[in-house]
Every structure is written in C-alpha cells, then in structure tokens.
C-alpha cells in the first residue's frame, strides 16, 4: 500500500514510517497540514494516516477538504483526544477509523491494513465469506466448516463475521471491542480472549487445520495460509 502519513512529531513519524515499511508498505510523510493536503491532492495513495492536531492546517480540515473534492481514500485519524465526542467529530469529517495516542504499533498496522482492505472491496454487497473450508452466510446466518453446520451464539456470529471480513489480517482486541461490542474503553479483564477461545473451540476444535490463530503481542487472525 502507498500510505501518506501526516504527523508533525518527526520522531514519532520516523518510527511509524519505519514500521510500515518493514510491513511492506510505501510511506510518504508530511510534517504539517498544508503540505499534507498538497501531497494528498497531487499524489495517489491507498490510505491516509492523519494526526488531528497539526501546524498550519488541522487534520479534520485537511480531510474535510479532500472529501469535498471527492477524494474517497480511506483515512485513519491519530489523536491524543480520545473521548467519544472527539471520535464522532473525526468520523463526521470523513475519517474511516480513529486511533487514540498512545497506541501499540501492532494496533496501527492492523487498522491501516483493514482500511486498505475496505478499499480493495468497495461497497459490493457480500453475503458470503469463505476462509479455507469455513463458510459464513449472512443471509441464512449459518456457519459451516467442511460442510458441517456449526451453531453459534448471535455475538459469536458477529465476532466471526468481523474476523472473516478481515481474513488474513491481524485484528486487535481493541478493534473487536469497538466493532463487535461497540465499546471504546479497554476492560482490565481479558474478556475478548475468552470469547475468542470459545469461538475457536467451536470452529477449530474438531479440525486438523486451525484457522483462528493468536498473533503474539498483537491480536488474532483468521487465515488458512501457513
């Protein structure tokens, strides 16, 4: 992916750029809002990572301007402002995701890749997902593995649906809490881990190839690749 990073903290930007390049992405970096807007206007990118508080032009205005121009490039806001109202204003300005500083780098990578995936499969209404021999049908709300029906609780179904939609990508615990349960705080108890292990016991237990895997220090991934 070609990523435009707009971040005024040079050290933080260098750290993020390095990490994203190691993960195989191309990163271009702007130090302030105006040059970020110029680069976004003249360049072709697969995703924007925009800090909210920037010199010259703040992140919200930058993205609002791009969206007014019809630019649909998915964008992730980085911000030290983490309250619900701030998230809402970020999403209203056209942001696709919102990450509060300080964040784990694995969290950032996972979310940026999820953004790229969203663009690769634009708005086409998918009603069936398949990973290996695991199938999920949104219309009949059924899950089968190797043709055998698996019974899931409604929340387990939503959890699996999210994982399948982001198959072969790393999905963090926070992403699951935000998207499956719609909470924006992190409980101290490992609640998500337990839900995952229950889901795993239903979809992986009787099969030789585990699909739902733990990515150490990051989260989970649903993948049939080795």
């Amino acid at each position: 992916m070609r990523i435009l990073l707009v971040e005024d903290d040079a050290e933080a930007a260098a750290f993020v750029s390095k990490g994203l390049r190691q993960a195989g992405h191309v990163v271009e970096h702007a130090l302030d809002g105006e040059s970020g807007l110029n680069m976004a206007t003249s360049g072709e990118y697969d995703a924007y990572i925009v800090d909210r508080m920037l010199p010259k032009l703040d992140g919200l205005s930058l993205l609002t301007k791009r969206r007014d121009e019809g630019d649909e490039t998915p964008a992730l806001f980085l911000s030290a402002l983490g309250e619900v109202d701030d998230r809402v204003s970020g999403l209203q300005a056209g942001g696709d995701d919102y990450l509060v500083k300080p964040y784990e780098f694995s969290e950032l990578i996972a979310r940026v890749e999820a953004l790229g995936r969203r663009r690769a499969a634009p708005a086409s209404v998918t009603t069936r997902y398949q990973v290996g021999d695991l199938e999920l049908d949104l219309l009949t709300r059924t899950v089968r593995r190797a043709g055998r029906k698996i019974d899931l609780q409604p929340r387990e179904f939503r959890l699996l649906e999210y994982l399948m939609r982001h198959a072969r990508q790393v999905v963090t615990r926070t992403m699951l809490l935000e998207n499956v349960w719609e909470y924006h705080f992190d409980p101290q108890t490992n609640v998500i881990d337990v839900h995952i292990s229950r889901l795993r016991s239903k979809i992986d237990k009787d099969f030789s190839t585990p699909l739902l895997r733990t990515v150490r220090g990051a989260g989970y991934t649903l993948s049939d690749a080795d």
């Binding site: 619900v84 109202d85 101290q188 108890t189 609640v191 881990d193």
Partner: protein, 478 residues
C-alpha cells in the same frame, strides 16, 4: 453624565420622548385649531349677518333710517359689536367707533383686523381714560341710488381682544406642556439610565473582579426577578460551570504533577544507572522502563478521563438509556471470562424505567465493577449483576460478590484516587478505577455506595462479600 447620554435606555427614552412630544403637539394643534378657528368663523358670521340686516335696512329705508338705527344700537348696547356709518362727504353720521381705522381704505369687502381706542369704564360705568382694543371688521359701501356718484360707508366690527387674549394664553399653555413633556422625559430618561447603568455596573464590577483573578465572585441579585436578574442568574451559572471546569483542570494538572513526577524521576535515575552499567543492566533498565511508561500512560489516561467526566464536559452526550439492556450486554461480554475465573455471573433484572446517561460511561462503570469482582472476590464463586427500579422512579444498578468484602472503615477510602487497600497492592492496576467510577456516578447524579454483598460461610470476617451500588435518580424527561 456623558455616559448616561450614551446608554441604550437613554436613547430609547429620547425616542420615546420625541414620539410623545409629537403626539402632545398634534393634540394641542388640533385643539387650538378647532377652538379658535370656530370662534373666528363665528365672529365673521355675526358680522356678515349684521351687514346683511343693515344693508336691507339701507335699501328699504334709506341712509337716514340706517343712521338712526345705528345710533340707537350703539347707544344702549355694549355687546362688543362696533358700527360706524359715514356719509359720502366723509363725515361720521353715527357709530361707536371714535375714529375711522386706516385699514378701511384698502380692505373694502374683506375682513380686516385693526386696533382702536375706547373709553375705559369703571365698575360704576364712569369713564376712566382710554383703552386699546383689537377688533375685526368688514367695510361695505352703499349708494343711495344706482346713479349716485358718492357712496355711504358702513363698518361693522367685533371686539376680538378677549378672544385674542385667550388664544395667546392657550398657545402659551400648549407650549408649556410641550416643554414640560420634553423636560420630564429627559429627566426620567436620565433616572432610568442611571438606575440601569448602576445595575449593569454591578455586573461589570463582578466581571472585572473575575478578570482580576477572583473566580469565586458572583453577580448579586436585585431581588426584583426581572430580566436583569435572569441575566445575572444565567451569567452566574455560567461562571459556576467555568469554575468547575477550571477546578477540574487544576486538579488534573496537580494530580499529574504529583503522580507522574515520582515514576519519571525513578525512570531517570534508572537510566542514569544503566548508562554506567553493563549490557545486562541496560537490558533490565529498558524492560523496567517500558513497564513504567506503560503504567504512566494508563494513569495519565485515567486521570484525563476522570477530569473530563468530572468537569461535565460530556453532559451533552446524556440521553435516555436502558440500564437493563446495557447491563445485559456487559454480562454477555464478561460471562465467559467470569466462568473461566470460576465465577457464576448471574443477571437479575426487573423492568426498570430509563435513566439519563451515557451508554459508554455506564458500561465502563459496570466493566470496572466486574473487573474488581473478578480480581478481588477471591474464594467466591458467584457475582450478581442486578438492575431494579427504585420507589421514586429511578434505577439501581448493583454488582454483588461473595468474596472477602471491604471493611466498613475502608469503604469510603476506596473511591479516592490512587488508594489501594493492602490486599490490592500485589495485583496490577492504577488505583484509579473506582475514582473513575465515582466521577461517572457524579456525572450521572447517581449515588455510589458500598454495602455488604452476598453472605457466605467462608472467611474469618463473617463472609459478607461486597455490593457496589450505583443509584440513578429518576429521569426528569429533559
């Protein structure tokens, strides 16, 4: 004085006075015109009638008869009518006008005003010198026969001195009323402005005091309950809110200064030591520093959240929420983790009216209660999450466990910042969880209490467990 003239209320008064004066002026003019116009018309009508009668008499009976009649009339009647008949020769034949007014020569056939003299009479009717009078009259000429070259002259006039006098008086009175209206308006305007200015000055004084740094100052109320009092009340409540916000910010910066200084100092010392140490020491220092910074970030975030909730910044996000639904969602999220930890998480709900709040914050509070129960209710096996209505229309949310509980003397302390009871020190955590919950409770006007939980047979302290209660006030619909 200049300030008074520049006030809005004075400007309004000036406009008001102008309008009022105009109204009074129009009223006076109409009254004046109607009264004296009618009087003047009546005078002219009387004169015309007299002339008609006398002209008839001249035509039928001739100049001799007319002279006699005029002589008689002017001799025994003093009704303010003056007449004079002059012969073609210019001699005055009869009449009570002592001289021919000079206007007679030019004003033939028209009404004219003139001044004349007449003997002043005292109460007994004796002559006492001469007085100047004003009259209005008409002059006509008659010919004895159509072919006569010379004509007789007849003047009929009326004394209008009294009328004129009254007219001057009324005009003066109207002018005086106008002056008085203007003066009264200006004075009342100034008084109005002064009293308003005085009350506005009270507000200004308060504002200056606040700007000078005394944020506790409030605008005193006049007690009149008028719009200025409403304004003061609103300004005061705005000041309360600002003071609360600033207190919250001050508290958070104090807390940050107080609670982050020691770990930062610790990190700094450790890094200085590590600089001199070998590779293993450096590695250890790095790892320890990483853990420290993560804890510091947690503390920092929690402090910020508490401050923001406390300052009421998120009051706008409050809306009717269903506690039962929120609790059920949280129970569903925590149930597997509770089971893993050996607890049976039980939901007990009854139909409960909605309360005003934020789903996110209430969920966070419940998460905190459940985190604590899982962490501290050692030896227990049951956690009850209960939502029930109160008698006064509010709702109570509670989490009870059958763990060791908290001694009564400690129950108030656990909600304070960074307070961790001895039993809790070995477990991870910032010590800010219940402070956050306390802030959430305050933000919802809810009452946070700690009570005895589920009774059980274990433990030396009578096995009482802990029940955390958050009691929400009735939803007032606003």
């Amino acid at each position: 004085m200049l300030r008074l003239l520049r006030t809005t209320s004075f400007r309004f008064t000036v406009i008001y006075v102008l309008l009022f004066t105009t109204a009074v002026g129009v009223l006076g003019a109409v009254l004046y015109g109607a009264t004296f116009g009618a009087a003047a018309r009546q005078t002219e009508q009387t004169i015309n009638t007299e002339i008609t009668v006398l002209a008839d008499l001249f035509a039928t009976s001739g100049p001799g008869m007319l002279t006699r009649v005029i002589r008689q009339r002017t001799a025994w009647r003093d009704d303010g009518i003056y007449m004079l008949i002059g012969a073609p020769s210019g001699a005055v034949l009869a009449g009570n006008l002592t001289a021919l007014p000079p206007e007679t020569l030019t004003a033939e056939g028209n009404f004219f005003d003139f001044e004349f003299e007449r003997p002043r009479l005292d109460a007994a009717g004796r002559e006492q010198g001469i007085e100047q009078r004003k009259g209005r009259g008409k002059v006509v000429r008659f010919r004895a026969s159509p072919e006569a070259a010379q004509s007789y002259l007849l003047i009929v006039a009326r004394d209008i001195a009294a009328q004129e006098f009254l007219r001057d008086r009324v005009a003066k009175v109207i002018m005086r009323i106008l002056y008085a209206t203007v003066a009264l308006g200006v004075v009342i305007g100034l008084l109005f402005s002064r009293s308003l200015l005085r009350r506005v000055e009270v507000v200004n004084k308060t504002a200056r005091a606040i700007r000078a740094g005394d944020l506790s100052k409030r605008i005193p109320q006049s007690g009149a309950g008028d719009e200025l009092d409403h304004l003061s009340t609103n300004l005061n409540s705005m000041l309360d809110q600002i003071e609360r916000l600033m207190a919250g910010m001050r508290e958070v910066s104090d807390n940050i200064a107080h609670d982050l200084r020691s770990p930062i100092t610790r990190i700094k010392n450790r890094l200085i030591d590590a600089q001199k140490g070998d590779a293993t020491a450096k590695e250890d220092a790095l790892n320890a520093t990483l853990i420290d910074t993560e804890n510091m970030l947690d503390t920092f975030n929690a402090l910020l959240s508490i401050a923001r909730i406390q300052s009421g910044e998120r009051g706008g996000a409050m809306k009717p929420i269903d506690l039962v639904a929120i609790a059920e969602e949280m129970a569903e999220l925590y149930e597997p983790a509770a089971q893993d930890a050996g607890f049976n998480l039980v939901m007990i709900t009854s139909p409960t009216p909605p309360v005003k709040g934020s789903r996110e914050l209430v969920s966070q509070a419940i998460a905190n209660f459940l985190d604590n129960a899982l962490k501290y209710a050692r030896g227990g096996d049951r956690i009850e999450l209960k939502v029930e209505p109160t008698e006064i229309g509010g709702a109570v949310l509670s989490v009870s466990d059958d763990g060791p509980g908290v001694a009564e003397g400690d129950r108030d302390r656990i909600r304070e910042r960074f307070v961790r009871l001895d039993e809790g020190r070995s477990t991870p955590g910032s010590g800010l969880g219940l402070s956050l919950v306390a802030a959430i409770a305050r933000g919802h006007h809810a009452d946070l209490r700690f009570e005895d939980g589920l009774p059980h047979e274990r433990g030396e302290d009578g096995g009482r467990g802990l029940r955390v209660v958050m009691a929400f006030p009735p939803f007032d619909g606003s």
